[in-house]
Amino acid sequence: MTSPSVRKKNRLSEAVQNIRPSGIRRFFDMASTMEDVISLGVGEPDFVTPWNVREASIDSMERGYTAYTANPGIIELREAIAGYLEQQFQTPYDPEKEMIVTVGASEAIDIAVRATVNPGEEVIVVEPGFVSYAPIVSLAGGKPVPLGTRKEYAFKLTKEELESVITPNTKAIMLSFPNNPTGAVMTKEDLAPLADVIEKHDLLVLSDEIYAELSYDHSHYSVAKLPGMKERTILISGFSKAYAMTGWRLGFVCAPPDITAAMLKIHQYTMMCASTPAQFGALEALKSGRDDVERMITSYKQRRNYIVKSFSEIGLSCHSPGGAFYAFPSIEDTGMTSDEFAEGLLKEEHVAVVPGNVFGEGGEGHIRCSYATSMESLETAVERMGRFLRKHAT
């Protein structure tokens, strides 16, 4: 038993008590105990990191690069990232003053929020959206303000909707396109009207562009490219998705020099630097990984096409997601909640998906299906889902 000297009351901070554990956890626990589960619940690539990248990292360790690096990351890597951002997205950043290599985009989101948000300030968070944004804002003392996107508008954000949630306390907006879980993308034309609102209200933009490369219908357009936006934008990205490097934990964040310096203070005290072997792997990925990235993009696109059409054949209505590797079909016609649907599908047909409500209230009525899995699994999953829908037809 706990000894009386151990503090029991108020052991945990209010901040941590106020955030809820991720709803994804419950499905992970359920699915982990079952055999022959086909999982469309995985939020990461099904490719193993290309061998040349793994090899470069092994080589760096053999050569003895096992010490800390400079806080913002090895300069060769930052220069390569700068070159990559300029070439792929025409968003040039100074590798010395405007960039930090982080422990995944996850850390980048955290330090971006902590470097800019004061207690009580509001951060607009797009919903449905990635599960970490709101908790990270809350942990920093800020107030996450959900802003729902709608399937009628392909889960894009509109100017009117944005204006409707802005208050004098609004500090920043967290953009996330291509979006997890909806797969929605925003083109230049979609973003431009938002930029006017953002400037008018003098907001910061935290733009999580981790899926930028995985844009299938148009090339990705970064909000930082719009006139006047770069000086108020924190661009977050990383190697997890396009380079199939999730487990390496490597990302980066780019921002104007004052914000970068502020983020660097947090990074240097909490992380020191990102993993050294991972940085060497990433350097190789940027130097010679282009063909692999293109190959993976083509494969995701084919699977996207397949799943969207197959879903419509079995009667699941699904907008065509322009990016990322998720389909986000509506299950409203079944009369089930997304939790009921996902749980039923897992128990009866052994197919794991993630209920939309996990990604914010706006996600209710939908399920997230990751198509980053083999064609064979996708075909079986579609077949089983078709059977499930027929059985529960109302």
Binding site: S32, E44, Q302
Partner: protein, 165 residues
């Protein structure tokens, strides 16, 4: 060749058993269009055949041997290497034949039931061809990877956790 034709070619090269209907969805075309592309590519002999990659070392009933033979030949006036190549590839035991640059000219891959089968083929059929100058035979001991596929079990297992954000 158009993009979707290239895509179809890459898809069947990787998996010759993919349904036309599945492929049609993947490349965003109608089924009859995909079928037409396949017919055309088959007719033009771009798609030469559909075959499976088999790891015969797992099949007890079959104890064959495979050898790679480096062959040096004198090219013939007018036909170069083609005539002797043809005389070699007509033998059914020849599985593959390549003209290569470097220290020798032809690389022959041959299957046999036993090592002496292969020795017999080399001494009686290959070396006796008029233009063949010399041969060097290498027996294959183990296949690690063939046609882009690693034979080691477990290589392709999904190592991800089942549900993640």
């Amino acid at each position: 060749m158009e993009t979707h034709e290239l895509e179809i070619l890459q898809l069947v090269e990787e998996n010759g058993r993919l349904d036309v209907s599945t492929m049609a969805k993947m490349v965003d075309r109608r089924e009859d269009e995909v079928q037409a592309v396949l017919n055309k590519l088959e007719k033009e002999n771009v798609i030469v055949s559909y075959a499976a990659v088999v790891d015969w070392s797992k099949v007890e009933e079959r104890e064959g041997v495979t050898a790679m033979i480096d062959v040096k030949v004198t090219p013939q006036r007018g036909v170069g290497f083609d005539e002797v190549a043809e005389r070699i590839y007509r033998f059914p035991e020849v599985k593959a034949l390549y003209l290569v640059s470097g220290a020798y000219d032809l690389s022959v891959v041959i299957d046999g039931n036993t090592m002496s089968d292969i020795a017999g083929f080399v001494s009686e059929k290959l070396s006796t061809l008029e233009s063949v100058i010399s041969t060097t035979t290498h027996f294959r001991l183990k296949t690690y990877k063939h046609d882009g596929v690693v034979f080691e079990d477990g290589e392709d297992d999904d190592k991800r956790i089942v549900v993640s954000p």
